[in-house]
Structures are given as structure tokens and as C-alpha cells.
Amino acid sequence: MDLVSAWVAAFLTLAIYSFLYKDNPLYRFAESLFVGLSLGYEIGIVLHRTIIPNLFQKLAADPGRNWYLVIGGVLGIMLYLRYVQRVSFLGRWALAVYMGYFVGVELMQRLHGDVLPQVKDTMLPLLPLSLASVQNLLVLVGVLSVLVYFYFSRPHTGILRPVSRLGIWFIMVCFGASFGYTVMARISLLVGRLTFLVDDWVRPTLAAILG
């Protein structure tokens, strides 16, 4: 990164960090800039990475074989008709195809890719007794008690009460671990910005000043 770009990036970094002191116009400016850029970024990307190569170039290369891609283009344009009052119902047709496809994929993905393998891996040998079999038992007990905790169709009374309480304990360990990992993630981002400020901005600037 050249020094001018580094100064621009450093200015924007500090503008965002100024929020830590208090909300201010500089932060609001940076925030607005971010909103516009993120939306603008996607326009060029979807056009040049998907719409042109996967629709237009394929159609141009072999229209006889790839004619069906037109349907994708038409459905895509129909999505925007939701903003045109008189024909907004056509937007719903396109959205219905879009959602129908992804929920169909999701249905099999979740049942076949999540539920079955996870249940299978929970049904592991508990005998002969060993460290591994004790851990298998703990996982089995943990999974069942967590599922009981999230089972709201019956009140948690009788046997369900202590089991769901056990489920909470497992969830608490899990959330504690997740908190630890979240801290790690957020600090990593801070490390990234500080490393940028020190290595790409302060040091090159000092080097330029001191020759």
C-alpha cells in the first residue's frame, strides 16, 4: 500500500475508532460511506462474475444448447417487478421459484447432511468401558438433555425437570466456550487494524520523514 492510500485508510480507521470516545459527525460520515460502498460493490461483482459469464456469454456461445438460461434471466428481472405496483404479482412468482429451490435444497441438506450424520455419530459404543466410551456416554447424555431443554411441547416437570436442568449446564459450558472464542475473534480484528496502523501507516510515514 502506497503512503497516500495508507493515510486515507488510517484516517478512516481512526474515524471509526472515534466512536469509542463518543458518537460524532466523523464517525457518521465513515458509516455512511461504508453503507454506500458495500451496496455498490455487489453491483459490479454480480454483473461481471455471474450475469455476464453464466448468462450472456453462454447464450452467445451456444444459444441452441443454452436457451434455458433465458429463464434464469427472466426470473431475475421479474424479481424487480415487485416495485412496480401494477405487476408486482409477477415479482412473487419469481420469488416463489427462488424460495422453492432453496428450501428444497435446505430440506435435504439439513436432514441428510445434519440430522442423520449427527445422530449416527451420537450412537457410539458404550462398552467395553474405557475413556472413549465414557466420553461417548457424556456426549449422548449432553445431546439428549439439550434436546429435552429445547422441547417446549410439554412443561418441564417430573423427570423432564432435572434432565432439562442438566441440558442447561451443557449449554452453559458451550456458551462459555463460545464467549472465549468470540473474544478471540474480536481481538483478532483489533490486531489486524493495529498491525495496519503500525506497519503500513506509522512506520512508512516515519521512514519517509526521517529519510
Binding site: L20, Y21, S38, Y41, E42, I45, V46, R49, T50, P53, N54, Q57, K58, Y101, F102, V105, E106, M108, Q109, R110, H112, G113, D114, P117, Q118, K120, D121, C174, A177, S178, Y181, T182, V183, M184, A185, I187, S188, L189, L190, V191, G192, R193, L194, T195, V198
Partner: protein, 291 residues
Amino acid sequence: MSDAQQVGGIDRRWVYLLVAVGALLPVLIPMGLPILTTPAVEALFQRVESFGPQDVLMLSFDYGPSSAPELDPMADAILRHCFTRGVRVVVLALFPLGGPNMAQGSLDRVTGEFSVEEGRDFVYLGYKDGAQAVMRRMAEDISAAFPRDHRGIPLKEIPLMQEVRGYPQIGVAVSLATGILGEYWANLVNAQFGQTVAVGATAVSAPKYYTYLKAGQMIGLLGGLKGAAEYEELLASAYPELRDRARVARRGMDVQSIVHLIIIVFILLGNVFYVLSRSERTRAGGRLGPR
């Protein structure tokens, strides 16, 4: 000063300042603390280690700049590992907000260090919309999802892609992921197409991947900056010539150490204040309450 801006009676900006100083010091003065490696990271490293020039690794950039400090070092380390061993790499991006730039950035940083040729040793397919649709379509025919690479060259004209038609020719697919995209590689690509998968996840989502790892739906897991630092450590131990290059994440772990300690101190202090205020309330209640 409103209550919300106070932490235990002090302005929370002092807390912010303490975190900033704690994070800045190790950036300025690296401590070089040792990195312990874990089986989840070793598993992916060993898999790549078992590969040679006949093998192909798929590297999917499923993240943007908000996760770059955690995932960029993983990407760079994996690419360096592959190029050192002559393993060929198929790079793609499925995350819309920055994925393509993350992939290009990593390739720009790493390819210059090796005598590798685009199209023969690695190919960058670019970005594609519709994550699950792309993953499904690539199974048998990558060129149906990515008709051209990022330079606009048709895939059938690229030597590497003449050998790699779909998942069957990929040794391992590694997704560096933020959000849910990494899960798709396990519960869709691995589950439905039997593709060997590993995930480099942001630390926020890393805990949930343990269940996929244990169920054999993934062969390796790199969790956050720690995972990246472990991969760098393994790489530096196996290939000492890479030690100076593979150190971004390891350096970051010094900062993690200090700030984690600061946060643990905050947790303990929070409890001390809590116990003190409770006993004060109890004493006040004792004086004021009925006899």
C-alpha cells in the same frame, strides 16, 4: 456520565484505553510466545503433507474484510504449503461482500514467492453467486458453474482444468468461511458428494464445527487466529525456509495473550464488585429491616 457509559463506577473509556494499550504493546514489541498445535489443525496439515504434484486442493474464499485478520493468514499458509509441495490449487470465492478481493489479495501475496504459473499450478475461478447452487453444480462439472476463470479464459483452455472436471479430482476442499458457508461444505458437499472437506472458520463460529469434525464430515478445522497460528507453526517447523513468511498469525497470538488476560481480570473484578455490593446491600438491609 450515564450509567450505560460506566463500568463498575468508572468511565468505560478507561477500559477501552486499557484494551488498546494492551493490544498495541505486543504489536510494537513482539514477545514470540510458543504456539501449541492441536489435532484438528494437524489433521489438515498432514493431509496436505501427504499430497504431491499429482494432487489438487480446492481453496474457497468464503469471507470478506471483516474476517480477514483471522482467515488471510490461513489462506496464505495453506497456499504456501501447497506451492512448496507442488500441490496444485483451484481457488474460488463464494462470499459476495469481498470474497473475490480476498482471494486475489492472497494469491498476489503468495504466488510471487514461488515459481508457479497460473493455469498450470493454480487457477483462480473468480466469484460466483448462489452458494449452494454452485456447490451442487460443481460436483460433476466445475465449468458449468464457472465457464471462465477470473481473467475471462474459458476453463477448457486452461491446462489444470482439463484434468479437474469436478469433485472426484479434488483431494481436499478447504473453505475459509465466515457465517454459514463453511457449514454448507460439510452438510452439502461432503454429505451429498462425498468430497473430503476441511474448514478454516472465524473463531466466532469455530465451536459449532467440532460436531461436524467429530462426525467425520470434515477432516480438519482451523479455528480463528489460533488455528492460523498453529498452521503457520507446523509449516515453519516442517519448512524452516518459510519461518519468516509464516508469522502473521503467530505474532497476533501475543496480543491475544495479553488482551485475554485483561478480560479475565475484568471478569474477576466484576465479581469482586458484585460480591462487595451484595454484602453492602445485605448489611444495609440488616440495619433497616424489621427485627
